[in-house]
């Protein structure tokens, strides 16, 4: 009877570019059969500004603040990866003190980025207290950024050949106070709030299992991949800077589970990662004590980079970020390619939402942690 009166054709629904779940300007067009999604097509490019081409017109030093703007909540790692590729091109080793300072800055960045993500997940899935509490905790880490670099978000801290400045007086004390408070009070509190709330957890549990094989083939990286059982982290398996000296665990869920991980696993893995980041910061400060304070935190580098091709990769809070640099011996790059983790992760959203209900789309897409600045470039 219903079919006679109603048009039950399958239809395309456009979610975005202004949609509460999209976190930036992008569109997910879903093909829905009733409430079940049968096909999807992500559309990006609203924010494309030719970042890579712009860089061909700038000197190397001028690219560092631009790299910050690729993603506002992971600015430290983006400028880090650019400095890394330039250092590789110059074939220089960064002073040890700078290596540890970069590790500390990167991990502060990772924690605040994950907290921003957690706040966004809270609003997406209807747990507004998580949103407020996560942003409250994030503010402490942004204050640390201000002390270290003078900026909350776009930090402009790494330099080719080191870091801009050594840490200020009492930074270690303040940082450890903040980290310890976060580890013992802040994070357990948020975790309890998030994981004990059955309506919140129910939105994620059992939603779209992804197997490790698929996820690897789609090119998904970062926490989304580790939640599904792929045991790979650039910090451990391809160490850069001082990460090789630091002993930490990489949280991986469902490692040998043929079923893979659901949205809830991809959620938990990020919370675990924040604990590990605290551990890394603690160890980095301990190692830093054995290096004299007068030791340099930066080496002077020439303005021009010798001709060649170079590649550097880093574990971003969202996945694996790569820069591929082609230099021609002048002070400007010939070509700079940015491999953004979200660009690849969002390309697989077509498979991620296949067969789920429309109401589950925010829960799945939230686990990618969208950031459009680096996706569109």
């Amino acid at each position: 009877m219903v079919e006679e009166r109603m048009n039950t054709d399958k239809m395309w629904i456009t979610m975005g570019p202004q949609h509460p779940f999209s976190h930036g300007l992008w569109t997910l067009r879903v093909h829905a059969d009733g409430e079940i999604i049968t096909d999807a097509e992500p559309e990006i490019g609203y924010l494309h500004r030719g970042w890579e081409k712009e860089c061909e017109n700038r000197t190397y030093a001028k690219i560092i603040p631009m790299a910050d703007r690729l993603c506002y909540s992971a600015s430290m790692t983006w400028s880090h990866v650019f400095c890394k590729v330039a250092e590789e091109a110059l074939d220089i080793e960064v002073p040890e003190r700078a290596q540890y300072l970069r590790v500390i800055a990167d991990e502060i960045c990772r924690i605040q980025s994950h907290l921003m993500w957690l706040a966004a997940v809270g609003t997406d899935l209807g747990n507004l207290t998580v949103f407020l509490w996560a942003l409250r905790e994030r503010e402490f880490f942004l204050d640390l950024n201000i002390r270290l670099c003078g900026q909350r978000l776009t930090t402009n801290y790494p330099r080719i050949g080191g870091v801009r400045n050594d840490m200020p007086y009492y930074f270690e004390r303040d940082c450890m106070r903040c980290v310890e408070r976060f580890e013992t009070v802040g994070l357990p509190e948020i975790m309890k709030l998030a994981t004990d709330s059955s309506p919140f957890v129910g939105r994620m549990q059992g939603i779209k299992y992804l197997t490790a094989k698929d996820v690897a083939n789609w090119g998904v990286t970062g926490p989304a991949m580790r939640g599904c059982g792929v045991d790979y982290d650039v910090r451990r398996d391809d160490p850069y800077d001082a990460y090789g000296e630091i002993d930490f665990e990489v949280p991986v869920l469902n490692k040998n589970n043929p079923k893979g991980g659901d949205a809830y696993d991809r959620f938990l893995v990020r919370l675990e990662e924040m604990y590990q980041s605290c551990e890394i910061i603690r160890q980095a400060f301990q190692k830093l004590q054995s290096i004299p304070k007068e030791a340099p935190s930066r080496v002077k580098v020439p303005r021009c980079i010798p001709a060649g091709t170079h590649m550097a990769k880093i574990e971003d809070p969202r996945g694996e970020s790569i820069m591929y640099l082609v230099s021609d011996g002048t002070e400007k790059p010939w070509r700079l390619k940015v491999r953004s983790p979200i660009f690849v992760n969002v390309s697989s959203s077509k498979h991620m939402v296949d067969g789920v209900r429309i109401a589950d789309v925010p829960a799945i897409m939230a686990m990618i942690d969208m950031c459009l600045g680096e996706t569109d470039r």
């Binding site: 490019g45 494309h48 590789e88 074939d91 090119g219 790569i322 390619k337 660009f343 690849v344 470039r377």
Partner: protein, 165 residues
């Protein structure tokens, strides 16, 4: 697939197997960098090949050597030629293979690897729209970041930026 898959091939294995299988069709490049950690610890392999071999090479690297992820595919415009650069990663060993393929500037066609690695799909689409390289056999080669109405390829060197000399 006739050959057994090796889950975590070592640096020496990868070098040996590829040179045995492909012989002169694949050229190994060496890096002169002394201070780069990843090169010293043998986690980077640099190869060059031509477009007739690339699909066979990539299939071999994926199926036998277990490089599960196509990390990035990009193009570089050298004016007289366009170079396509692939980065492929093995999750068990952390080894990254870099493959370069030169294309003549007047004939920008190369077989697509998007059917081997789904992750290469958007990288190839992006390279197509920014450089005009046509990936033969790609499931959906359409513009992604720029408007569909664009008829030029903005990342080519012939496209000048304002303010550049």
């Amino acid at each position: 697939m006739t050959e057994e898959m090796i889950q975590a091939p070592s640096y020496e294995d990868v070098n040996k197997l590829i040179s045995e299988k492909f012989g002169e069709k694949v050229v190994f490049r060496t890096s002169t960098k002394k201070n780069v950690k990843a090169i010293n610890e043998k986690r980077r392999i640099f190869l060059s090949t031509d477009r007739d071999t690339i699909l066979e090479l990539c299939t071999y690297i994926h199926d036998v050597l277990n490089f599960e992820q196509a990390t990035s595919v990009c193009a570089v415009d050298y004016i007289d030629r366009v170079q396509i650069v692939y980065h492929l990663t093995n999750y068990f060993t952390g080894i990254v293979i870099e493959i370069t393929v030169d294309l003549p500037a007047d004939d920008l066609h190369i077989p697509s690897v998007a059917l081997i690695w789904e992750g290469a799909n958007w990288h190839e689409r992006e390279t197509y729209e920014l450089f005009g390289v046509i990936f033969d056999g790609h499931p959906k080669l359409e513009r992604l970041l720029t408007p569909q109405s664009y008829e030029f390829f903005p990342f080519r060197k012939s496209y000048k930026l304002r303010g550049s000399e």
